[in-house]
């Protein structure tokens, strides 16, 4: 590999080269370790300062079939929640809390746009999304897209979403594990904070009132 002639003894220069290689390798490992340690803490635990921001550009399809991007919602305070319409409990709990919080806030909530982004684009067509979100609140907007489009949004928001293969049954049903945070984004599309799962509508409304 190194091109030394066979049979040649290890010269001092070769030994130094080996030491140097080991030193470089150690530096690389150390740098990588530092980078891992420096990765953002799981959402809800981290402070957010100096770490990768939650949020970012996305291109998706709304529940009326129109293409939208993050730019579409500039100037709006966003409540962003990721889930799927086959979800019987966790998503209804979160969307119900968002809907009730909007109603508690009344006209003040006009500055807020609540978004429900699917983690299951394969099954969640725009019409399915429309049926689902409008059932919870007329102002909720459901977003779906191609698998790469939703994957990009999931990645931008540092959401965990994974199809559970072992949950599949004879009806073709399957579950999707997913993060259950409600993200608050400011009028410039920047991350403001989040609500963990189970936060009640009163607590959501109280915090939003301070932001509005």
């Amino acid at each position: 590999m190194t091109g030394t002639s066979p049979g040649a003894g290890r010269s001092g220069a070769q030994r130094w080269a080996a030491y140097a290689a080991i030193a470089v390798l150690a530096l690389v490992v150390a740098a990588a370790a530092t980078r891992w340690i420096g990765l953002p803490a799981p959402p809800g635990l981290g402070t957010g300062s100096g770490q990768a921001e939650i949020g970012g550009p996305f291109t998706l399809i709304d529940h009326n079939g129109e293409t939208v991007t993050d730019e579409t919602f500039r100037g709006r305070i966003l409540l962003v929640y990721f889930g799927y319409t086959y979800c019987p409990d966790i998503c209804p709990t979160s969307l119900g809390a968002v809907a009730d919080a909007l109603d508690i806030l009344g006209p003040a909530a006009d500055a807020i746009t609540p978004l429900f982004i699917t983690v299951d684009p394969e099954r969640d067509t725009p019409s399915r999304m429309k049926n689902y979100v409008t059932f919870f609140h007329p102002r909720l907007i459901g977003l779906t897209g191609t698998a790469p489009q939703t994957a990009a949004a999931i990645s931008a928001y540092q959401v965990y979403a994974e199809r559970v293969e072992e949950s599949e049954n004879e009806t073709g049903f399957y579950l999707v594990d997913h993060s259950a945070f409600i993200y608050i984004m400011d009028r410039d599309g920047r991350f403001l904070g989040l609500f963990s799962h189970g936060t009640g509508p009163e607590a959501i409304a109280k915090r939003l009132r301070k932001i509005l």
Partner: protein
Amino acid sequence: MRKETRRFALGLAALALSAILAPEAMGDDPGAISIDRPWARATAPGAPNGAVFMTIVNRGAEDDRLIAADADVAKVIELHTHRMDGGVMRMRQVPEIPVAGGSSTNLAPGGYHVMLIGLNAPLTEGTSFSLALTLERAGAIRIEVPVAAPGAMAGPDAGAHSHPMGEQ
């Protein structure tokens, strides 16, 4: 052949044993288990799945467990729980939901539930449907499940009770 004979004998013995034990298990304290405040959330048009919540109360001394549920409203009924894992909600099927003697087990949003997979029609707020529960000791219990608002966190009627009615 010998193996099969033995299995047959064992089966016969088990059958005889269960015939002796069953009336004891069923009749000893038939009211040990009751179901408090069963409820389900209304589901969106086209939403294929729903969940049923309740409190299973065990007034008997013996431990019991919910091992099956059945209803006409959906194609598949499973027992499920949720596990919160660093902000990720993982829903999983469970073989049983235990109810220790002298205590109760809550089936509530974010935890245990009876999962309705492949609803034949949306669950409409204000209606109710029949659900058959099977407990290992108490046997079959049929309950009526009222449907609450889409994002409700509790049932519409805090006073609803039901009692074992035996096999139906």
